[in-house]
Amino acid sequence: MRWRRSSGLSRRRRFGCLPILALTVAAIVLVSAIVLRPQPLPQAHSLPASHPRIEIAHLRPVAAFASIADPQARSLALFEEAGRVIQHPRCMNCHPRTDRPTQTDAMRPHTPWVARGPDGGGEPTLRCSTCHHDENFEPSGVPGNPKWKLAPIGMAWQGKTLGEICRQILDPARAHMGREELLHHLAEDELVGWAWHPGGERTPAPGTQAEFAALIKAWLDTGAKCPA
């Protein structure tokens, strides 16, 4: 055989193809066995909700304030609790200090760029009713109420402290209503009531309209004290 060296010379050990092929196959089998060994399936993890869960906040009932002996301090505490509703975005968004409403919990400027118009229901050529109707409309997410409009500019709340709002709603010149009417408005008005049933993914005002009205009545009955 030509490839054999002549006898007498030291022979170098050589590997044929078969051992190399066998080693390669063995390596592949080993790696495959490691990679493909039976393993537990990954556990399913729930994805975070695409929209944050709506937080339902509660109001403290009037009875919770009975332990405050001083009527003035109790009146103040009652109004501060009611103020959690008054200063909630569902209410504040339509009590702007300009002619433009705000929207969302972040109280960003309303889009489209609308204005209050002569009656609070929008400009004659871009009424609120262009989009807002008698009910919340789930397919588009647009809120609605038969009375949908902005509060009068005299009842602007945005940018004011709770004390300033308190004195404002007690001032008939600005509120255009006395205390009886004020209580009726806050307790019975259906547009006020929308704040607890805003639809879509909007955060409702804390508590219920009845609980809010009870706080307002108790506040009025205890002298209607205002925060500083």
């Binding site: 009713s129 989009c131 409309f137 789930e138 397919p139």
Partner: protein
Amino acid sequence: MPYSLSVNGQVHSIDEDGQTPLLWVLRDTLKLTGTKYGCGVAQCGACTVHVDGQPMRSCSLALEAVASAQIVTIEAVEGAETKAIQDAWIARDVPQCGFCQSGQVMSAVALLRAIPAPTDDDVDIAMSGNICRCATYNRIRAAIHDAAGVLGSGRS
């Protein structure tokens, strides 16, 4: 029970859920596809139609809420204001991609019917709910003024 819906002067019997947006009824049921679906959340104005003469967003209007109303879409809006707006739109070559234009025209016609000689502020207020992603706003405003001018010269 089917709803009886008056669209463009014709009464249609619509057997759909009462909460179906009017836009779906117009496009899918009546095949009036001139009214466009833009955003579906009353933000863009592409779906504007006239409901008893008032411009409204049909994506945010329930079928059951308009069953007794007179609805007019871009396919049938007519009258002097419409003609003036159409002519001005063509003369100014207002549309770019054109998708929002049926809504723009419906709002512009309603504006001229309410305010025959609008100022820039009037135009901005009335048209601010109609979004144009090609930003043809300057041409839209100019075309509305042109149309108002034509209508005004016709009256004088």
